[in-house]
Amino acid sequence: MSAKTAKPVQLRTPLGEEVLALHAGDHVELSGLVYTARDEAHLRMQKEGIPFDPKGAVIYHCGPVIQDKRVVAAGPTTSARMNELSGFLIEKGVRALIGKGGMGTRVRDQLKGKGVYLAFTGGCAALAADRMTLKGVFFEDLGMAEAVWVIELDRLPLVVGIDAHGNDIFGDVSSHAEAEYARYRQS
């Protein structure tokens, strides 16, 4: 995996082909609009359509705490739950998925030549909220955690977990852990 200490790459939505140049391990700062979506929102979008323009859009796997039209806390949720639910979004032009913990090999393949998976540090809800302004909401009937919140980011610090070339830090780390664990078991 490439491990850079260089200055973070600045990205702004809507994203275009610039994401194809990113490499797993690159630090980026993302500004512009993102759409939160967890399991229920993905199912609703599959059924009823995507309520925003997906071209160059960014999906954030997050169930925020919202109070008085303000983002109070908004860290990432486990992306793997959306492993089987993300293909249609990438097909429609979504360029980046943000979440924690990485995604399956299927999503890694779906992102090839199209987009990236950006990891945000789990639990960092206050840092996230400090960089966020609430802009709107879709599917509010799904409840606070599952609704699609439209949020404007100001330089959210992320790391490229899966790039558009098929490199996947989470996959590499998990293979390494598997080998270490197998060796440990036999010791």
Partner: protein, 278 residues
């Protein structure tokens, strides 16, 4: 005790529960912060160092803004110590519940508690048997709120090992962390309950997480080193620190049993204790 005293005690307990909950979700105990800072200073992977930088910045931002450090503000696990002059009544449980409701509304907390079968959300983080309240006698009247998020709790495990498998306990812990991978938001804290009974081991594993993290026994340090050799690292992005600390609690058990419970805790090992004024 007069009923006016009872009412006063209930009010004080509800308020103390609210204060402890609020404090727990906004700022980490000093020992937890210390082990995170120490790990951040020695981590060698650049990607992992970025994760630690985000975690430390997040902790500072939560304090500055007075907001929860994580959007999973958890389900309430409560520990009460009751002095001899305070009668243990149903009203004390009601007072704790009232404090949880107030914290949900005013901090605010994300309403996380649902009916386990219908999945109906109660909207106030209370429900049948929730909050979980553990009571023990003590000198002082205190309430400890230990919010437990789902990501880490879901990766916890219990094993009824054989008495001949004392040497396999470390392997059981390492296996649990390996199976959890990136999901519990590493770097994690690992609470291990050894002995007692099936239920007792799980309770000890959780209580172990409340002990100071910056002093470990040789046994605990050995488990920590084995876990960290997995290299899962912060958020599963690889690195030296899959776990920050291991804490073990033991109790006597049946000669034919060896219960081992592993309670996985994310880096945000949030808990706060407030004394209830009498």
């Amino acid at each position: 005790m007069k009923s006016t005293d009872q009412t006063r005690i209930q009010k004080a307990l509800a308020e103390a529960t609210f204060e402890a909950y609020k404090s727990a979700v906004i700022r980490l105990p000093p020992d937890v912060l210390r082990v995170i800072e120490q790990a951040a200073a020695t981590e060698t992977s650049p990607v992992a160092r970025g994760e630690f930088a985000n975690i430390l910045q997040n902790i500072a931002m939560a304090e500055k803004l007075g907001v929860p450090m994580c959007q999973d503000t958890s389900v309430p696990v409560i520990y009460l110590t009751i002095p001899p002059d305070v009668p243990l009544t149903q009203e004390l449980y009601a007072a704790v519940t009232e404090g949880v409701r107030k914290a949900t509304k005013e901090v605010p907390l994300r309403p996380n508690v649902v009916d386990p079968l219908t999945r109906h959300n109660t909207s106030d983080n209370t429900g049948h048997g929730m909050p979980t309240i553990h009571v023990k006698p003590g000198e002082m009247f205190t309430v400890t709120v230990f919010p437990k998020g789902a990501g880490a709790e879901n990766m916890s495990r219990i094993g009824m090992l054989l008495p001949s498998q004392v040497g396999q306990i470390e392997k059981f812990v390492v296996e649990t962390v390996y199976l959890a991978g990136s999901r519990p938001c590493p770097p994690i804290v690992i609470g291990v309950g050894i002995g007692g009974t099936f239920d007792g081991a799980a309770a000890m594993a959780k209580e172990a997480l409340l002990q100071p993290l910056d002093c470990m026994t040789e046994y605990e340090r050995g488990i920590l080193a084995a876990v960290n050799r997995l290299g899962i690292g912060p958020m599963g992005l690889g690195g030296d620190f899959t776990a920050l600390a291991v804490k073990v609690k033991t109790a006597g058990c049946h000669t034919a049993s060896l219960p081992v419970a592993v309670n996985i805790q994310c880096w945000a090992n949030r808990h706060a204790t407030v004394e209830v004024p009498l």
